[in-house]
Amino acid sequence: MTRHAERLRQFDALPTPEKDRLRREVRVLVLTGLGLNCEAETEAAFRLCGARPERVHLLDLLEGTARRRLGDYPVLAFIGGFAFGDHLGAGFVFANKIRYRLYDQLVEFIERGGLSLGVCNGFQTMTRLGLLPGLDGDYRTPLATLAPNDRPGYRDAWVSLGFDAASPCLWTRGLSQMDLPARHGEGKFLASEVTLGRLREQHQIVARYLGADGAPTQAWPANPNGSPDAIAGICDPSGRLFGLMPHPDAFLYPFHHPDWARRRALGTAGTQGDGLAIFQNGVDAAAAALG
């Protein structure tokens, strides 16, 4: 954390062309296949942030037929989708494949300082694997789960997220609030009271669902799944691993926002989508580590 913070301070001070050069060196492994489906927008997001995303099919990674090994990438993206149809629980079969066939590479990747972002199905997979919340450096024991929403069924609607400014999360530096679409049927974050207490204490609850008053809420539809403490996303204690139910990859351009047409007419639409900031933070953290 401190090492990263120091590197980031140095990176922030660099002139833009130098930053861009370092960003271009950030290879992002976008894990695909088996029913995942957010590869195009995730790839676009990382590319817009100056990095070099590469789509890699999980089976190629497992069989060693991919161009590179997991350890060759500083950033790993667990994308959204319906891996194996969410059968047996969201992320379950996909995570199981990784657990039995890729786990050592994955833990090595993390222990060597890799950054990882899990969105929606990706967050579910990371949680199922035990990568999150990653308490006490244990990235193997699942301590939490993303249970079915209180109101059953997949639902697609935009929500408002608030970020914990005191969180160590490298992906959300400087962010306070953002609208993103929630698109899931299993997003209710469940863990024991002890675990939840530690997550709060360590500011690992990075993102919460906000009500119209700007405060975290338990009320549907602002909180789409009934997550306790309005939890929308968490990070590991190092802040390098971040999982989030709503989709930052779905707000890359101003016109992704559902109220864009009105904002454009009133001149408040902005020039880029808010979700991009999360990817930029991740890329910059990885670039800073390279530098």
Partner: protein
């Protein structure tokens, strides 16, 4: 343990945690069945075969359980009390996608394969508290299970406790492959007709005779004798011909010679309404485009699985809309899911394969609140609606495809058969592996490779089944179950194979299965040899004709050059996708089918594709007369408007629609819902074609079966006009709109049991003429279409026919999505205009049906809902097109801030939708338009005159806007106001003054709870 005995694992949500699935079922039992169930808990049950030892079984139990959320046990999970347990599992042979995924997890966990006999069978256990046995039986049959595909197992708590855990698995009993039979066609006409019906061939007497004569003539031929075949067709041959010649595949009615007359006038002979009006439209439009622009933007129309149009120098757009009505009537969930994943394969099977970009859906149902009698054998419309939605939700979401358009229409005549429209837009790179992507052809010698799922008995006779009326004899195997994840994985693999240039042609396996895909692909090379024993099966025991005809899902057929077979199969293996070479294309003029080395079918290609005798039909048009309202109009127009926006056809279906993905892929610009709270349906949707480019496509549609009761000519013109206006409203270019036609008709072939067939055929002719005239005038070609011509139900001895329904789907081009326009007014102070003329055109209107209900009138079974009226909206093509062009210029100039399209419900409902979307008020004077001033107030508000648009413009741009649209019937009605009240005046007299909140409440209440 023996390899065939099963290990049973039960998994439940921890007792201290809420069971969301159980709670959902609990609410539905209470609200839908009216049974006061106290509590429902659920469990997932896995039965695993493949010889697990106890240690493996325990390891799996632990692995299949989420420790935070669940508890589990081998065998039965004890500890909970309940009154009744209902186990719901699949019948033997029915696709079990969850079981398939579970098998992957099991094999990964064990680190070994389960072997040939190993499989995972899933089922769900529902534990009910507070019901008696009879109620539990109702819950099982009316809510939880569909006996067409599922089995139920009901036990009281005592029975459940006393009996050992159920370890049985639904295995298809293995037996020897049935032999190939020769079919004797030497009988009398009556016998031939009986045979056709009995074997579900849907062949007419004439067709049966043509087949008989053909094989008699062929018998002497060298080839047939050498193959050991005689003068009678084999069952393989007869079934293959029946599929290929089915109405579903061959469109015999659209290709028939029609004698059409009006009243007692002179008959007119039309040589195929398809050629005259559908293809005729496209040819006329294309000629005009070429004359104007020097070249056409149509890339491939009518001959492939979907239409293809130019988009830019990198991509073409591909679009197809299909229906899946009969299967959805029998098994709403499975039928509708197969509808969406099935139509996905059409763009993918077009050219060398388009990537899928967005889906559309539209449904015609009877009211979910139907409380009248239900003919025996029909499912309640609410159950159909819930199942159809869930099927398309799961099919679309799991495939990673967002939806762009979704609509629902309700009429009690859809009680017999719902109409389930599903469509998919694809994006096709202009060149693929160095070749033009829209062309494909198998060459003689190319291997036939089947990719994707395996073949089972599911979906046999789908094409012939949908070519007949729905009655109790409907075969259960006509229903297929989709497995979207298997298909998604197949598509991912095929995109890789396509870009590597590993195949030469591709088509999908839909209706008719291999007989249709191979039969079609073999046309160009001039023949094919198919070795059926090589086709991978789900289970043993399928007859050769069943393998050939099975419509088992998730399969594509490829033509692969010999040198590419090995790399293609290797890539498939790497992606864990099934791919098998099952024969080769030839040039000998025959579809030659073998099974274990023996010829079981030898069909002349020419006879297969051209041997079907033409149909001759007669059509007679006599204009109908309907009642006009007999009572005075409602006094309170404000309250009437509130009621109108809550009508089933006009209200919000957001409670269902939000369960569909709106934006996966990150290419959606204008989503299906717009407005400051995103809760009012958009007039049209806008999508990017790819990341990194700002050009996009616009989706819209028009559909209005209510006008068909009065005149299908007007109906067809109205739906074209609505689809085009919606395009314009979103900012599409008027000169790049392409249309798709989907006809869903009641049987128009007159016969003893179809006495008004000539009238229905006349309705079809008139619809086609209306379509032709409007589409040609708007310069919008028809690029693809589909007809479904037997939408009649005879369940329980009651005949119910759907009203003639034409869905017109439009896809347009927008050069820069930053210029897209939405429905909601943007700010108070903006000026509101109405463009276009309003006339007294209330026939077939939503308002008249509301009046009928107010007068206590109920439709007779099979008849339209009163009042129908007679003054159906008519399209004035001389004035609409100049108006649209003027508005297009104004939009392009940036002067237009919002556009609404008055359609069903007229001007009043269009204005309400604008106010609701913005949560702002409108203050308007109807006297500002002379035509509105002349009409009765209710007619002014609710007449459904075509060609109209409501537009808002910022005050600073009004002069420029007015100059731009001058002379096109532009009326300045008033302005947008911040106080959220919709105020409609005539001069100083208020007609309507309603709070926007009151409109919203009504708009959302009707279907808000029926989710």
């Amino acid at each position: 343990m023996s390899p065939t005995s099963a290990v049973r694992i039960e998994v439940a949500v921890r007792p201290e945690l809420p069971d969301a699935r159980g709670a959902g079922v609990e609410r539905t039992i209470q609200s839908f069945l009216g049974i006061g169930v106290r509590r429902v808990r659920t469990r997932d049950v896995y039965r695993i075969t493949g010889g697990l030892d106890p240690r493996e079984a325990e390891k799996l139990r632990a692995e299949l359980t989420d420790p935070v959320l669940q508890v589990s046990a081998l065998g039965k999970l004890e500890g909970e009390r309940f009154d009744f347990a209902i186990g719901v599992g699949f019948k033997p042979g029915v696709t079990d996608p969850v079981g398939k995924s579970a098998k992957v997890a099991v094999e990964d966990t064990l680190g070994r394969k389960l072997g040939a006999t190993g499989a995972v069978y899933t089922s769900t256990l529902y534990l009910l508290d507070g019901v008696d046995r009879a109620q539990a039986e109702r819950v099982a049959l009316e809510l939880l299970a569909n006996p067409v595909i599922q089995t139920t197992h009901l036990q009281s708590f005592e029975e459940w406790r006393a009996q050992p855990p159920d370890l049985s698995v639904p295995v298809v009993p293995g037996h020897d492959t049935p032999a190939v039979a020769r079919v004797d066609l030497s009988g009398s006409d009556a016998e031939l007709e009986r045979l056709s019906k009995q074997k579900l061939l849907a062949l007419t007497l004439g067709e049966m005779k043509a087949i008989r004569d053909h094989f008699r003539a062929q018998a002497a031929g060298e080839l047939r004798r050498a193959a050991g075949l005689g003068s009678e067709p084999t069952d393989v041959e007869l079934e293959c011909l029946a599929q290929t010649w089915s109405e579903h595949c061959k469109h015999k009615i659209f290709n028939a010679t029609v004698r059409y007359r009006e009243g007692d006038g002179e008959p007119e002979v039309i040589d195929s309404v398809f050629k005259a009006y559908v293809r005729g439209t496209t040819e006329a439009v294309e000629r005009a485009v070429v004359a104007r622009e020097g070249k056409s933007w149509l890339v491939s129309v009518f001959h492939d699985n979907a239409g293809v149009v130019e988009h830019d120098d990198q991509h073409h757009l591909v679009y197809k809309v299909e229906t899946h009505n009969s299967p959805s009537a029998l098994d709403p969930y499975g039928g509708a899911m197969t509808g969406i994943v099935g139509v996905n394969r059409d763009p993918f099977g077009t050219g060398l394969g388009a990537e899928l970009s967005s889906n559309v859906w539209g449904y015609c149902f009877a009211s979910p609140f139907h409380s009248g009698p239900l003919p025996k054998g029909l499912l309640h419309p609410r159950r159909i609606r819930d199942g159809v939605h869930q099927g398309v939700i799961d099919g679309g979401n799991q495939s990673g495809i967002p939806y762009g358009r979704g609509w629902e229409i309700f009429d009690h005549r859809f009680l017999g058969k719902p109409l389930v429209f599903c469509g998919t837009v694809g994006v096709l790179p202009v060149t693929v592996a160095g070749r033009p992507s829209h062309e494909k052809a198998a060459l003689p010698g190319d291997a036939i490779v089947m990719v994707g799922g395996r073949i089972g008995a599911d979906g046999i006779h789908g094409a012939t089944f949908s070519s007949a009326a729905l009655d109790e004899s409907a075969p259960i195997q006509a229903v297929q179950i989709g497995d979207p994840i298997t298909q998604k994985r197949m598509f991912d693999f095929l995109v890789e194979a396509r870009d590597l240039g590993l195949y030469r042609a591709i088509t999908d396996n839909g209706a008719g299965g291999l007989s249709s895909s191979v039969g079609e692909m073999a046309e160009k090379p001039g023949g094919a040899r198919l070795e059926l024993e090589k086709a991978p099966l789900k289970y043993a025991g399928l007859a050769p004709w069943e393998i050939l005809l099975s419509e088992a899902q998730e399969r594509m057929t490829l033509a692969v050059a010999p040198e590419h077979v090995a790399p293609l199969l290797a890539l498939a293996a790497r992606r864990e996708v099934d791919a098998t070479a099952i024969g080769a294309f030839t040039s000998d003029g025959y579809l030659h089918v073998t099974h274990r080395g023996k010829t079981v079918g030898l069909l002349e290609m020419a006879f297969l594709h051209e041997g079907d005798p033409d149909l001759d039909l007669t059509a007679r048009w006599v204009p109908p007369r309907f009642d006009e309202p007999r009572t005075p109009p409602p006094a309170d127009l404000g309250q009437t408007l509130v009621a109108m926006v809550g009508r089933l056809d006009l209200c919000s279906n957001e409670a269902k629609a939000r369960h569909y993905d709106h934006e996966v892929k990150g290419l959606t610009v204008i989503k299906p819902f717009v407005g400051v709270r995103s809760d009012v349906p958009a007039e049209a949707s806008v999508f990017l074609v790819r990341h990194g480019s700002l050009s996009g496509y616009v989706l819209s549609e028009g559909v209005n079966p209510f006008y068909s009761d009065i005149d299908c000519f007007a109906m067809a013109q109205a739906v074209v006009d609505e689809a085009v206006r919606r395009q314009l409203a979103a900012g599409a270019r008027l000169d790049r709109i392409a249309l798709l036609d989907n006809f869903c008709w009641p049987d128009p072939v007159a016969g003893p049991d179809n006495p008004d067939g000539e009238y229905k055929m006349a309705q079809l002719v008139r619809a086609c003429r209306g379509l032709y005239e409007a589409a040609v005038a708007y310069g919008a070609p028809l690029i693809s279409g589909k007809d479904s011509m037997k939408n009649d139900s005879r369940m329980g001895g009651v005949k119910i026919s759907v009203p003639p329904t034409l869905l017109l789907s439009a896809i347009g081009r927008i050069d820069d999505v930053n210029g897209a326009v939405t429905l909601e007014p943007k700010a108070a102070g903006d000026v509101v205009y109405l463009l276009g003329e309003t006339r007294d055109e209330t026939g077939g209107s939503e308002y008249f049906r509301l009046r009928g209900e107010r007068d206590g009138l109920v439709a007779e079974l099979g008849q339209p809902a009163p009042y129908v009226g007679n003054k159906v909206p008519e399209l004035d093509l001389a004035t609409t097109l100049p108006r649209y062009r003027a508005l297009e210029s104004a939009i392009r100039a940036g002067w237009v801030r919002s556009v609404a399209v008055p359609a069903k419900g007229g001007l009043g409902v269009a204005l309400s939708r604008m106010a609701m979307a913005a949560r702002l008020g409108l203050d308007l004077d109807l006297n500002a338009a002379a035509d509105l001033a002349r009409l009765e107030p209710d007619v002014a508000l609710f007449s459904e005159s075509l060609g109209r648009l409501v537009v808002t413009v910022a005050a600073r741009d009004t002069a420029s806007f007015e100059a731009c649209v001058a002379g096109t019937a532009c009326h300045r009605l008033g302005s947008v106001v911040s106080a959220p009240t919709l105020t409609l005046r005539r001069g100083s007299a208020a007609l309507v003054s309603v709070a926007v909140d009151a409109l919203v409440t009504s708009f959302q209440a009707t279907l808000g709870g029926a989710s």
